[in-house]
């Protein structure tokens, strides 16, 4: 009795490590299978266009709203420090650097994960539990080329574009807040932002975004396709997918900060 | 006992359209009809779980239309319900599931609750299942736990949503016998939906048939079997030819 309780904790740790290894392995396998279909490209054209529209266009309002508030919050948070060190000429640079390089890609990715990633896992999960995926196989349609590839491409492309849009909107949010809250003239703001902000800062942020997009895409496809057990199963998959992708985003963020820095 | 008056419900499209129905006390009313004809919605409306767009339901003479949620809860104390997909609470054991209505609705001593739970589980041929979890049961077993939970509070009105769906003929017959036996003892009012028309006609006193949200037939079981209405005839006898 006490022996089994003694072993309970290591056994649980071991079990979760095994399932983690299983999931990471499954995702890697899925990614490699998807990559194989890139040369020569075997992607369903119609599905690709449909997903680009669905995932990209419909996320525009939420990304714009997120970005505008984020830009504003960056300035509000910096305000006490700016006043303390009397550093008004650095507001533009500071706010836009943090937004472009770190917070913008991160928050947009978390939003994209919640909206598009969760949706994707739910849709694929529903297709699995209602045997639609088996139906595709029975028609000799390759589920990876037909379902997975278009979604991965659409997510990577769209998060990239949405981040460009979000960066722009966040910058406007910062400029307006800086003007209203700290009396930083928009010209002063841009004069500090533009010369100090290298193109690399913007590009590094966008590269990060694309990596986050790939992360979300592979995770949500993997968990969606791994769904078992009816309606509660779909709920569980969506849950697992969003959480795993969020963890993945933070880990990827950490690694890419050092690699791209 | 239950009177449905000009009941209309719509979600995005109309589901029930001006249904009038009467379920007398001490009888079994079978509610039949093709899929998506509004049977489950009608049953949920009788329990006050759905707000109709128009019309009213009277339970024992009490109108549901002007009741708020606490008022409805009072009416529901007199109703036991089996849901289509059992609706067992998956975070509770079988025993706690069956005990749930007793704990929520009455203030009973613990021994009495336990006694009534095990009496119910024996009655549905699942003795000693108290500590099992719903997930570990088969479909037929879950149905029977659902029946135990619906009947444990000895409510005078029982609503069953397709108690034999997806079950084999032997298990189905056992469930029919159980429902009929219970109803005889309690002299209660039972409304049951069934997709197994032949089976339900063996125990039902009255039959009502819904088609596309409208009531197309109401009468005794014998009248249903001998009806000349082409719609009813085709459905009751399972004919291929006909208006359906």
């Amino acid at each position: 009795m006490s022996g089994s309780r003694l072993l309970a904790l290591p056994a649980r740790v071991g079990a979760s490590l095994l399932s983690l290894a299983d999931q990471v392995g499954g995702m890697t396998l899925l990614l490699s299978q998807a990559l194989k279909r890139l040369v020569p490209p075997r992607v369903d054209r119609y599905e690709l266009v449909r997903n680009l529209h669905r995932m990209g266009v419909q996320s525009v309002p939420i990304v714009m709203a997120t970005a505008a508030f984020t830009g504003a919050i960056m300035v509000i948070q910096a305000a006490p420090l700016v006043e303390r060190f009397n550093a008004r000429e650095f507001v533009g640079w500071g706010a836009s650097f943090v937004t472009f390089r770190e917070v913008g890609p991160l928050l947009i990715a978390l939003m994209f994960n919640g909206r598009v990633g969760a949706n994707n896992a739910a849709e694929l999960g529903t297709m699995v539990v209602t045997e639609q995926v088996d139906g595709l196989r029975a028609l000799a349609i390759d589920p990876i080329g037909y379902l997975v590839m278009p979604r991965i491409i659409a997510m990577v492309v769209m998060i990239f574009m949405l981040t460009i849009l979000g960066d722009g909107v966040a910058l406007i949010g910062s400029i307006i807040t800086g003007d209203l809250l700290l009396d930083v003239d928009p010209r002063t703001f841009l004069a500090s932002a533009i010369p100090m902000l290298g193109p690399w800062d913007v590009i590094a942020g966008l590269i990060k975004s694309a990596i986050f997009g790939l992360m979300i895409a592979v995770t949500s496809c993997y968990f969606g396709l791994a769904t078992r057990g009816g309606a509660p199963g779909v709920g569980r998959s969506v849950n697992a997918s969003v959480v795993a992708a969020a963890t993945g985003i933070f880990v990827a963020d950490y690694l890419s900060t050092f690699v791209l820095g | 006992m239950i009177r449905v008056q000009d009941l209309s419900v719509s979600f995005r499209s109309p589901v029930l359209d001006g249904v009038n129905l009467h379920a007398p006390p001490a009888s079994i009313l079978a509610l039949v009809g093709p899929g998506a004809s509004g049977k489950s919605v009608l049953l949920k409306s009788v329990a006050g779980l759905l707000r109709p767009d128009r019309g009213d339901v009277f339970v024992d003479g009490v109108s549901l239309a002007d009741k708020d949620e606490p008022g409805l809860a009072e009416v529901r104390k007199g109703i036991g319900m089996l849901f289509q997909n059992y609706a067992l609470f998956d975070y509770l054991t079988v025993g706690e599931n069956v005990a749930f209505p007793l704990r929520r609705l009455f203030d009973l001593p613990e021994e009495e609750i336990q006694a009534r739970v095990s009496e119910r589980l024996e009655r549905v041929s699942l003795p000693g299942f108290e500590d099992r979890i719903p997930r570990s049961l088969s479909g037929g077993q879950k149905k029977r736990v659902g029946i135990a939970r619906a009947t444990v509070a000895r409510a005078p009105i029982l609503l069953y949503d397709d108690p034999t769906a997806g079950l084999d003929p032997v298990t189905s017959q056992k469930i029919y016998d159980l429902i009929k036996g219970e109803q005889r003892e309690q002299r209660g009012c039972v409304v049951m939906i069934s997709s197994d028309v032949a089976g339900v006609l063996t125990i039902a006193d009255r039959v009502a048939m819904l088609h596309r949200g409208k009531l197309v037939f109401e009468g005794s079981a014998d009248e249903a079997k001998t009806s000349v209405d082409p719609l009813v005839r085709q459905f009751i006898h399972g004919l291929v030819e006909g208006p359906l």
Binding site: V98, M111, G235 | -
Partner: protein, 271 residues
């Protein structure tokens, strides 16, 4: 000509309607959320609660999010320390205030706002999926048959548990962020632990503002996710949609609330 003007007149209201539809849906949505919040708070004030259910939810929510949040905030602390050190070196080579500034920002804002986003993913999705699958499998109706009010029975314990445990987890995760920042500052930039662990810039106002944010964000996550769960309809796809709406809704609410609370904080909680 007449035909063209007729279509113009025709499309007028529908175009306006199309434009206004999301706005009125949004207003309805927010009104619904406040109604649920009101009901929940009323029921809490009436104080008839099942202790068992509350403790169980506190355990589930705390247990579900603690490790995950410590990992994410650990990475956040390292990333932000690294970036701000690299950038501030461009202006002045002195890194003695690095820790003090970072800790101030973390207490005042980031422990709450950056922490609440992943917390919404974890806790919000969990609440919505749980309540949502109870709705589509008729368990919520079965509760109502037994005079168990779903708000009282399902929402209240989750609301209290998520607010208390969420705030506690965010505080712990914030501490982890400070530790990981300290390790990076020491390992990469040779700032010693003592210099880094400098709380001199943190005021009581900062702590109050930070904790207020945490409580507000956690309460928002709980109410929005519960509402999304309760309004689930239509089978397995419905549960998926409810989960998605819970995560997006709570994340967005966190950003908007942060904007307002930070704005008020700037004017009323001087640093």
């Amino acid at each position: 000509m007449t035909e063209a003007s007729a279509t113009l007149v025709d499309s007028g209201p529908s175009a306006l309607g199309r434009l206004m539809a999301p706005v009125s849906a949004g207003v309805n949505d927010i009104a619904g959320l406040f109604r649920l919040l009101g009901r929940t708070l009323t029921l809490i004030s009436q104080g008839k609660r099942e202790q068992g259910a509350l403790l169980e939810q506190m355990y589930i929510i705390g247990n579900r999010s603690l490790v995950f949040m410590c990992i994410t905030m650990g990475f956040i602390g390292a990333i932000i320390t690294f970036q701000s050190a690299v950038q501030s070196q461009r202006l002045l080579p002195d890194l003695t205030m690095l820790g003090a500034t970072f800790i101030k920002l973390l207490v005042r804002d980031m422990a709450a706002s950056l922490g609440a986003m992943p917390l919404a993913t974890r806790v919000g999705a969990g609440i919505a999926a749980e309540i949502g699958s109870m709705v589509v499998t008729d368990q919520v109706d079965a509760l109502r048959m037994c005079a168990a009010d779903p708000v009282d029975y399902l929402v209240v314990p989750r609301f209290i548990a998520a607010t208390i445990m969420g705030t506690a987890v965010l505080i712990i995760a914030g501490a982890v962020a400070i530790l990981s920042g300290m390790v990076i500052a020491n390992g990469v930039f040779d700032v010693n632990f003592h210099t880094y662990l400098n709380f001199s810039m943190v005021t009581l106002g900062d702590v109050g503002l930070g904790v207020t944010k945490m409580v507000a964000f956690c309460a928002a996550i709980a109410i929005i996710s519960a509402q999304r769960g309760l309004s689930t309809f239509g089978g397995s796809e419905g549960v998926g949609t409810a989960t998605t709406r819970a995560v997006v809704g709570s994340s967005f609410a966190i950003i908007v609330l942060n904007f307002f609370i930070s704005g008020l904080g700037y004017f009323f909680v001087p640093s």
